[in-house]
Amino acid sequence: MNAIAEFFQNIPIDLLLIQTINGIVTGMILALVASGLTLIFGIMDVVNFAHGELFMLGAYVGVVVFALTGNFWLALIASSAIVAILGAAMQILTLRPLIGRDPLNTILATFGISLILQNFVLWQFGPVARKISEPITTHFNLFYLEYPWYRLVIAGLSAAIIGVFWLFLKRSKFGVWIRATTQDRVMAQAMGIPVPWVYTGVFAIGAAMAAASGVLFAPMAGVSHTMGLDWVLKAFIVVVVGGMGSLGGSIAAAIFISLLEAYASIWVSPAQAVIVSFVVLILTLLFRPTGLFVPTPK
C-alpha cells in the first residue's frame, strides 16, 4: 500500500498538466483525421485504408506550397483543396466501379491506393523527414516550459473545422443529401439525390480534412512517408472505440486516447505509450464492442 501511495505522491503535477495540454492538442488533430474516416465509413461503408496516406500527402503538399510561397495559411488551404480534388479522382476511378460489390473489395482497393501514394512520396521526396516552420512562433510560460502558442491554435483550429463541418451537415443542402444517403441510399436515390456524386463529395471532404490535419500537424513533428500508417491505425482505434460511424463518439474517443497516451509517456517511451491505446481497444472489444462513447444500443 505504501508503495502505491508513494507512487501517487511522486506524480509531478506540473508534468501532468503539460501532458494534459499536449494530449488535448494531439487529440484534436486525431479527431479531425478520425471524423473524415468516420464520415466516409458511415456513408459509403468504405473503410478508407488510404486515409493515413491522404494525411501524409496533405502534409507533403503543404511542405511544397510552403516552400514556394512561405505562407503557412496558404499552404493549409491549397493542400486541402489539392488533396480534395485528388480524393475525388481516386473515388471516381477506383471506388465507384466497386459500388454494390462486397465491401471487403473496397478495403483492398484503398489499400492499393495507399501503397501507390506512399511509394510515390518516397520516390519523389526521399526518406529524409521534412519540416514546416511554425507560423506562430510566440510562446507563453507554463511552469518551467516555454509552451508554443501554435499548439493551442492547432487545437482551436481543428475544433473550428469540425464545428464548421458539423454545421455544414446540419444546415446546408449538400449536408441534407449526405444525411439522407446515410439513412437510406435507395430512397435517397428515388428522391432525386445524385447518390454517386454524394459519395464522391463525401470522399473529397474526408480527404480535405485529412490533408488539413496533416498540414496542421507538420510543424509539430517531421513529415515523413511512413507517418500515414501510424495515423490511420490511431484513427481506426478511435473509430472502433468511439463507436463506428458516430461523429461525436470519434471526437470523444480521440481526445480520450490521446490523453491516455500523453499520460503514459510520462513513465514510458512514446513508442511504448502506443500500447496503452491498444489496451483501450482490447478492453472496449471485450466489454463494450459497440463503442465506449455511444448510447447503449437497444
Partner: protein, 318 residues
C-alpha cells in the same frame, strides 16, 4: 479413380517434378528466388484459409509469421548445437500463441472490423518486438546460424542450397495437402458456410466463434511455419517482417493469385515477386516498383477479382 482426380493428381505430379528438378538446373539466384517464393506462398496460402474459405480478411499475418521467425531464432540461439526441429516446434508454438491471442479478441467482430483489429493486434506485436531491444535485438534483429538437417540418432547433414530448397518444398507441399484436406473436411465445410451465410450457419446451431478461433489459429500456425522456414533460409530475424508491410503483401499475393484456391496464393506470390524482380532489372534498383504493382493490384480488384487462378477455383476444390 474419377477423371477429375486423375487429371488433378497428374498435374500435381508434373508441378512437383518441375519444382524438384528446378534447383538442379537453375542458377544460384533463381534457385534462391524460387525457394523464397515457396515460403511466401506458404504464408499466403495460410491466409487463404481465412480470406478465401472463411471470408475473413486478415491484415495481421505478419504477427504470426514474425512470431514463427522469432520463435525459431530463440531456439537456434539458446540451444547448442542448433536443432531444426526444436526451432520449428518453438516457432509454431509462438505463432499459435499469438494466433490464440489475436483470434480470441478479433473473432468477436466481423468483416471490416475483423480486418482492422487483426491489423492493430499485429502492430502490438511489432511494437513489443521493436522496443524490447535486450531480448530481440530491437531494430537490428537477431542473427544466427543455420541448423543442420537431422533425423535423431540416424542422420545429420548440413543444408546446401539444393537440399534446403527440397526441404522447403517438402514442408510447403505437406502444408498444402493438409490444408486441402482441412478445407474438404466437415470442419472446412462449416468454414465455407460461414463465408456464404454467417447468420444461417449460426441459426443451424454451429458455435461460430469457436470455429473462427480454430480457423485463425490453424491459419496462424501455417503462417508461423513460413516464418520458421524464412528464418532458416536467411539466418536472421528482423522486426521489419512483423511490420504491416508483410501482412499487406500476403493479402496482395492472395488477391493476385486467386482466393479460395490454396495454390492461387503461391502463384500470386510468384507473380508478384517476378514482376518486382523484372521491374527492378528493367529500371534499376531505385525504381519504386510498388507503384506499378499497386496499379496492377487495383486493376485486378476491379476487373479480375477472381485472380489469376480464379477460373479454376471450382475445379481445384473438387
Amino acid at each position: 479413380m474419377s477423371r477429375h482426380s486423375k487429371i488433378y493428381w497428374s498435374g500435381f505430379c508434373v508441378v512437383m517434378a518441375l519444382l524438384i528438378v528446378a534447383p538442379l538446373v537453375l542458377p544460384e539466384f533463381w534457385r534462391r528466388f524460387l525457394t523464397e517464393v515457396l515460403i511466401w506462398g506458404l504464408l499466403a496460402m495460410s491466409s487463404d484459409l481465412l480470406i478465401g474459405y472463411t471470408g475473413m480478411i486478415s491484415f495481421g499475418h505478419s504477427a504470426f509469421f514474425g512470431l514463427g521467425m522469432y520463435g525459431a531464432a530463440a531456439a537456434l540461439l539458446l540451444v547448442s548445437p542448433p536443432n531444426l526441429w526444436l526451432a520449428m516446434g518453438l516457432g509454431l508454438a509462438g505463432a499459435a500463441g499469438a494466433a490464440l491471442f489475436v483470434a480470441y479478441f478479433s473473432t468477436r467482430l466481423r468483416d471490416i472490423y475483423f480486418a482492422i483489429t487483426t491489423l492493430i493486434f499485429s502492430q502490438i506485436f511489432y511494437v513489443i518486438i521493436f522496443t524490447s531491444t535486450s531480448l530481440t535485438g530491437g531494430e537490428n534483429g537477431l542473427i544466427f546460424s543455420r541448423p543442420h538437417f537431422t533425423i535423431p540418432f540416424l542422420y545429420d547433414v548440413r543444408f546446401n542450397g539444393t537440399t534446403l530448397h527440397w526441404f522447403v518444398l517438402a514442408v510447403v507441399t505437406a502444408s498444402y495437402l493438409i490444408l486441402r484436406r482441412v478445407t474438404q473436411s466437415p470442419f472446412g465445410m462449416v468454414l465455407q458456410s460461414i463465408r456464404e451465410n454467417e447468420a444461417r450457419t449460426r441459426a443451424i446451431g454451429y458455435p461460430l466463434q469457436r470455429y473462427k478461433i480454430v480457423a485463425v489459429m490453424l491459419s496462424g500456425v501455417f503462417a508461423g511455419l513460413a516464418g520458421v522456414l524464412y528464418a532458416v533460409q536467411n539466418e536472421f530475424a528482423a522486426p521489419d517482417f512483423v511490420y504491416f508491410i508483410t501482412s499487406g503483401d500476403t493479402v496482395i499475393f492472395n488477391v493476385m493469385g486467386g482466393i479460395g484456391t490454396l495454390v492461387g496464393p503461391i502463384v500470386g506470390a510468384g507473380f508478384f515477386q517476378l514482376l518486382r524482380e523484372l521491374l527492378s532489372r528493367a529500371f534499376g534498383d531505385q525504381f519504386p516498383y510498388l507503384i506499378p504493382l499497386g496499379f496492377i493490384f487495383i486493376v485486378m480488384i476491379i476487373f479480375l477479382p477472381q485472380g489469376l487462378l480464379g477460373f479454376a477455383r471450382r475445379w481445384l476444390n473438387r
